[in-house]
């Protein structure tokens, strides 16, 4: 599809125009990290940077919510989602929206993603063979070019948005398209280099995880079952359904907690800490690809960044994947 250009000034004007009709969030810079903030008329924002501390998924469902029909909030636009987060939505949508559809998972969200221009030291999308820009589950994508952005369309909703707000956009010039490609290539190279130019072959991971379970013993021993890794993950989806006074309540839950799989009578298939630690990898790299067709890890590195036991999940994965 044809790409568009929008200038820096026009982006500002566009967001001002959108604020009354949408709830807009953007990545706000906090020294070296980014967190999600609500866009106000005077918000200073940029599409530069890398993933936020918290994942994109919590815009689609809340970590804790009453499962009642909600009065319709304004539709949402999320600016500046990164490739690892949009990729994570594939599994989440498969789980939540298919057979039967979960009516509490929001479908009225426009995702305006942006190419990464920096990386967090724990980022490893390229190690999984993915790119540091959005390739799926975005409506519009913004790539920084001189004086503005090159805008690509990712969905019908994105195309409609462009049409409805046509006055803000102009046709892209071929040198802008070239500039976007070269930015992408050079940043991808930079991140690959940072990650030792590794691209893992995840084909035989099922048997390797079993065969090299000592790796999980070695790395899992500092795990304290805090569930940070699952809470911040771009694609972990587990929850616990509980009873409120009037309705059901959904809380996010974690396979890293001891009680997660316990059944009445006390039997527990994953009583053991190391079994739980290993299970997280098997789920992400074996079970979900086999059953849902989408992996459960996109290399955002949040689990490593948030780990209370200082476990480097990327290192664990590499150890297992590269073992013979």
């Amino acid at each position: 599809m044809e790409q568009k250009f929008i200038s820096n000034e026009k982006v500002k004007a566009l967001t001002k125009k959108l604020i009354p009709d949408y709830e807009i969030f953007y990545p706000r810079r906090q020294e070296e990290s980014w967190d999600w903030a609500r866009m106000e008329a005077d918000s200073e924002f940029t599409f530069e940077g890398h993933r936020t501390v918290l994942p994109l998924k919590y815009f689609f469902y809340s970590p804790q919510e009453n499962l009642v029909e909600k009065k319709k909030d304004k539709p949402r636009i999320i600016f500046g989602a990164r490739g690892c987060d949009t990729k994570g939505l594939s599994l989440l949508k498969k789980i939540y929206l298919e057979d039967p559809e979960d009516p509490h998972f929001r479908k009225d969200i426009l995702v305006f993603s942006a190419d990464c221009t920096t990386y967090h030291p724990d980022c490893f999308c390229t190690v999984l063979g993915d790119q540091p820009w959005a390739t799926e589950n975005f409506d519009l994508n913004f790539s920084i070019v001189e004086n503005g952005y090159l805008v690509s369309v990712g969905s019908d909703a994105g195309a409609k948005f462009l049409k409805d707000h046509g006055g803000f956009f102009e046709s892209a010039r071929s040198e802008q398209e070239k500039s976007m490609s070269s930015h992408r290539t050079s940043f991808e190279e930079e991140l690959k280099k940072f990650n030792g130019n590794k691209v893992l072959d995840l084909k035989d991971l099922e048997s390797k995880i079993e065969k090299h379970s000592d790796v999980f013993k070695e790395y899992g021993k500092t795990c304290v079952s805090c569930s940070s890794c699952t809470n911040v993950c771009s694609s972990c989806f587990c929850f616990f359904l509980s009873e409120g006074d009037e309705n059901k309540i959904r809380y996010m839950d974690s396979c890293q907690l001891k009680s997660y799989a316990r059944v009445a009578g006390g039997a527990n298939p994953r009583e053991d800490l190391i079994e739980r630690f290993k299970h997280r990898f098997t789920c992400k790299f074996v079970y979900r690809p086999q059953m849902q067709g989408f992996g459960g890890c996109t290399g955002c590195g949040r689990c490593t960044a948030g780990c209370q036991g200082k476990i480097d999940f990327q290192e664990v994965l590499i150890k297992v994947a590269e073992a013979k």
Partner: protein, 269 residues
Amino acid sequence: MDPYKTINCKVIKIIEETSLIKTFILEPEKKFSFATGQFIQLTMPKIGESPFTPSSSQFAKGPFEVTIMKAGRVTEKLHELKANDTVGIRGPLGTSYPLSEFEGKEVLLLGGGVGMAPLRSLLLTLLYEKDKYNKITLLYGAKNPADIVYRDQFESWKKRGAEICRTVDAADKDWKEKEGVVTCLFDDYSVNPKNGVAVVCGPPIMMKFGTFKLLELGYAPESIYLSMEKNMSCGIGKCGHCGVGKYFACKDGPVFKYSLIKDIEGIWE
């Protein structure tokens, strides 16, 4: 349709089966039906929700039954219910026993303890169309005579054409049937694994040794059907809790062919 919404059911009658097990006859406010082997999530308002398999025939119209063992937080509250109270249900959920695969075969039901609940539903469903099956047998074990559920019903099932053998782990002076764990019933019963299927439901340890015994007797892993009991929360394949290897027991099960799950680590735990 919100899959988290419950259908209200009135508790019509409560039958005390044993000191720990009660059968509840429930009348749904709306039309509700299930296929035998499927389960429901039963909501105790403001307390919680637990999965149970209806224990009545899938062909029975109107009210249906669930048989519940007191085992913890939610089931304790369920046991305090009185006639005319209201509970909520979601469902039917999950897979059912594939009756068409049983046709023309000898169907063997192997059950222990409260695992008899889904098997009773299956048994009654099979007996309703019993000419479709070559033979219907129930092998049932309980800890002791006082722990036997549906105690007044076995005779009528026999009359309707089921062959039934029972055992208890520890007999008392009035017990005239077999004594020993459930697999000892195979000592006196000759199976037909070549043209038979077996359905197993009960406590994990019983499922394990029951399945191994059936394999030893010559049943193919494809002819053994298990009802897997896992921790469940959503019941609709979203919350992740019920994993059996790559499968979700609530959606890909609870009824599994043994051949599908035999290589998965820890299925008996």
